[in-house]
Structure formats: C-alpha cells, structure tokens
Amino acid sequence: MRKVMTGHKAVAEAMRQIEPDVVAVYPITPQSEIAEYYAQYVHDGVVHSELVPVESEHSAMSACVGAAAAGARVMTATSSQGLALMVEVLYIAAGMRLPIVMALANRSLSAPINIHCDHADAYLARDAGAFQIFCESAQEAYDYTLIAQRIAEHDKVRIPGIVNLDGFTLTHTSQVVEPLEDEAAKKFVGPLKALYPLLDVDHPVSAGTFAMPDYYFELKRAQAAAIEEVANVFLKVQQDYASLAGRRYAGFIEPYRMDDAERAVVVMGSTAGTAKVAVDGLRKKGEKVGVLKVWLYRPFPYAEVAQALATVQAAAILDRAFSFGAMGALYSDVAAALAHSERRPTLANYIYGLGGRDVTVDQILQAFAELKEARPETRLRYLGLRE
C-alpha cells in the first residue's frame, strides 16, 4: 500500500521489518529521527531489539562490532561527524568481516559546521571496506535497506554495508513510498546465519586477533575478495527483490535515456532524479542526452560504467564533495573505468551542492550546455557556486 512518509520513516520501517537483535545508535542531525522512530518501536514493544543508547558514535559502532561478533544481527545509522567518529571502528568491523548495515543520512563535514547534505561523509568512509549504495528517493532508501541486509549477511560477503540517503532532501521530505507487507519483507531478508559466533561457547574462536607481517597482507587480500563478491550477490538479491516488489531494479547502475545519448551526466543520490527531469526537458527539444545513475558505489562497477559511456561523446561527472587536492572521487573512478576503453567520452568534473546548496534543474542544464564544448581537461568545474 502506498503511503506518504519521509526518508527517515522509510528507513525505520525497513529496520522494523528486519528487526535486528541489536541497534546501537547515537543521534545526529539529519539522522536522529531514524533513531527516534526505532526507539519508539522498541518502547512500544513493536520490535524485540536491544536498543543501546550509547554515548557516542565511536561507542555505537563498537557496540555493533561486539554484538555482531557475538552472533547477533546488528544495525545502526549516522551522519557526518558521527560517521567520522565511527570510521576507526568501521575499518575494524570490515576487517572482522561483520555484516553491520547502517543508514548514512548524508551530511557535510565540519568546518565550517553545517547540517545539510553533501557526500563528504560517504567519501570519508570510502576505503573502510564497507559496500556502499546510493539512493535517489525514499522508496529506494527503503528498498535498499532490505537489499543491503541480505547482501551483508551473505556467506561469501560478511562485511558492513552503508545505505546512503541525502540528508534533508530525502530524510526530511515526505514522499510516496510503497513498503512491502511485513511478512514478505521478513521472508525476503530471512534469518541471520551466525558464523563463528563468540557466544557459541562449545566452539570457541578468537576474533579481532593480532596479525604480523607474515599474515596481515593475506587477511586483507581475503577481505578484498569479500567486497568483490558483493557485485555477484548484489545482482542476485536485487533481482529477487525487484520481482518480489515489482520494481525495475536491474544492475549496479541505472541508465536513463542513455540508448542514443551523445551527452550524459554521471551522478549519485537524489540529484539523479533532478537530472532526469533536466534530460526529459532537453529530449523534448531533440537533444540526445541521458543520465547514468550509480547505485553501487563500492565495489565500483568499472566494466558497467565503461560500457554505458562507450558511445557517449561527452560526460559530466558530478561529485557532491571535494577530494581536496585531487579531482572528485566519483570522477576518478569513472576515469579509471574508462582508462582501457578504446571508445570513451570527453570527461568534465563538476563539484556541486556542497553543504546543502540547492541543486536545481537549471544547474544540470548548465552542465549539459557546457558539455557541447567539452575539451580534454584536468580541472574542477562547479555548479551553483558564486565566484
């Protein structure tokens, strides 16, 4: 049944249906409402999760690590500085191969302090070893929370997963969401199969061990294999979900009107929707333009991105954060994807929407207009910036 709900509520609903054993969470704008909704569910006895109201995000992720290692299904959620505080322990969660799923309500990083959306927090956690999915809408945030849980807990994966949803733009906007029935959602996610749980005292194991130069490298290589495996599992789980829920989800990326596109923007998150509106407008005028939305950011879908852009003449890659001293992070990935392609577009890199700067259709139109004159260059361009 279709309902009106915010992105927060959509994520909280998915969490309610997943009903993890443990939720350890600390409030931070614009994530707080997710924690508040879940605390209400616990209080009302709607779920039987252990809610751990920790004193910081570092503690939140530490509690998640302990509980997951013990054999529990675990979830959390955060934003911005909260994620920054979590990152130390997020690396540990990934290294210990713990399937902790978290919503990240994307928000800028200080200083200057700002509570609004950009992707600096997601980029900060980029190399931590968690898989990352970006959502365009509250519907996707709901859907991909369920999907992420299945992926994270898959036997061959067992790593943390981050579901990104744009702070305020998605978290605080009421929009139409069609959740699954509880039973269908629970059946889709299924029970957690605990692997080597610490509380299985009949089969004692060591966790969080020391590894010297003789083993550290091999253990990290095994971890790399685990996140590579996400790609295979993602497609299978996404397909299962799409047929169950009746969604048109197919692949790591979503090409929109790309079939004969000569110019394209590559983008993640809610801006993909705004870009689609810009494309619809230009298509009406006969311009051959399209959008390439990236759903799965880590592991990055190099081959699929290269293929989708092979016949495009010019592409604008939109990064909603700086990678200071370098080109944008998404741009660098797309450029790497195209490095071995014989046919590839001329690329432009735009930084946009920092600190909640409103992202408009006109800004996307500007990028498409400038792409007509695209020349090979290694410099940053900007959308919506006063200079």
Binding site: V4, E136, T173, S174, Q175, T271, G273, T274, T360
Partner: protein
C-alpha cells in the same frame, strides 16, 4: 504538476498543513512531495514549506521557485517576503488576511488571482486558534480537491493527536475556509 509554496512563521503549523495536504493528495491517487525549507527551526521566524502534486512520479528534488500557489499563513510576511514573486502565470496567491482581495492587490501589485480569507478569524470563531487548518482548507479548495477527501484525511491524521471536541472544531474551521475559498471572488 502543481507546486505550492507556504509562507509562515515557526510554530504556526504551515509544515503540518503541508504534510496533511500531501496525504490528502495521496488519497486522490497523486504522487506527492512535502518538505519544509531546510534550516534551523525557530519559533516565530519566517519559514517556508513546499508541496508538489503530480499524476506521475516526482523526480525533481530542488526547492520550489515558481509555484502555482503561494500560501501566506502570516500576513506580516506579505511585504517582507513578497511571496507572490515567482508565481507561475495563472497562479494563485492565497492570503490569511482581514483585508479584501482587492486591498491585497493594492498592497502587492500582484496581477494574478488572489484568494483572501480571514483564517485567523475563522479559527477563533471555531475555537481552535490556529490558522493553518483553515488555510489548508482554502488551498484544497483552490486545488479543486473534493471535500470528502479533505475531511477524511484531517479526521484521520488529527484524530490521533487531539480530542474529539477539538477535532470537531478544526473540521468546522476547515469547512468554513474551504467554502469561503471555493466561492471567493477574485479581487
């Protein structure tokens, strides 16, 4: 697609009215968005809220710059915020005021359709004191939303939060404003 921009002050319930409107539109089978202007929320400070209503999936995620309807919940914002600016051609300015539409036209110079109603007086007469619900009724009337859907949704949403007596009073205020806006002559 219809786009609406609400102008109110923190605490007057413009955001709540915007959210209830979205739920009313969902009952009509529409796709909807409702969101406040994102920023610090301070009681008494000028704020905006937005609605989008469409027969198709809504993909755009920016603020609303060219609304079809601008709603002024607090008359003191009329000169300060110039809420008619950006209104689409054929748009409507809905104002909570004791002035006539003609007087509002004189004050604003806005050439399009103006719906003026005294939502404060309607709310006081009904015994609720909050202008947001009558303004919601006025906007629903301007949109041409059937009364039954408006009443059903308000009963359901507000019924969970307030007493039966207060609900009846709010429905009365809603109805008066709905009928007033429906029959409003353009100044």
């Amino acid at each position: 697609m219809n786009e609406i921009r609400w102008h109110g002050r923190g605490g007057q319930g413009a955001k709540t009215a915007s959210q209830i409107l979205a739920q009313i539109n969902l009952r009509e089978g529409k796709f909807v968005q409702s969101f406040p202007e994102f920023g610090p929320e301070r009681s008494g400070a000028p704020m905006r809220a937005y609605n989008r209503i469409s027969d198709e999936e809504i993909r755009v995620h920016s603020a609303v710059y060219s609304p079809d309807i601008a709603v002024v919940v607090d008359e003191t914002l009329l000169e300060a915020e110039r809420p008619w600016e950006g209104l689409k051609e054929g748009g409507t300015l809905v104002v909570n005021t004791s002035c006539s539409a003609k007087e509002i036209r004189g004050r604003t110079g806005y050439g399009g359709r103006i719906v003026a109603l005294d939502a404060d007086r309607i709310a006081r007469a009904a015994g609720t004191g909050f202008a947001n619900i009558p303004m919601l009724g006025a906007v629903a009337a301007v949109l041409g939303t059937p009364w039954e859907l408006v009443e059903e949704e308000v009963r359901e949403t507000m019924g969970e939060r307030i007493s039966r007596d207060m609900l009846t009073k709010n429905i009365a205020a809603l109805r008066t404003a709905y009928e007033t806006a429906k029959g409003a002559s353009d100044g």
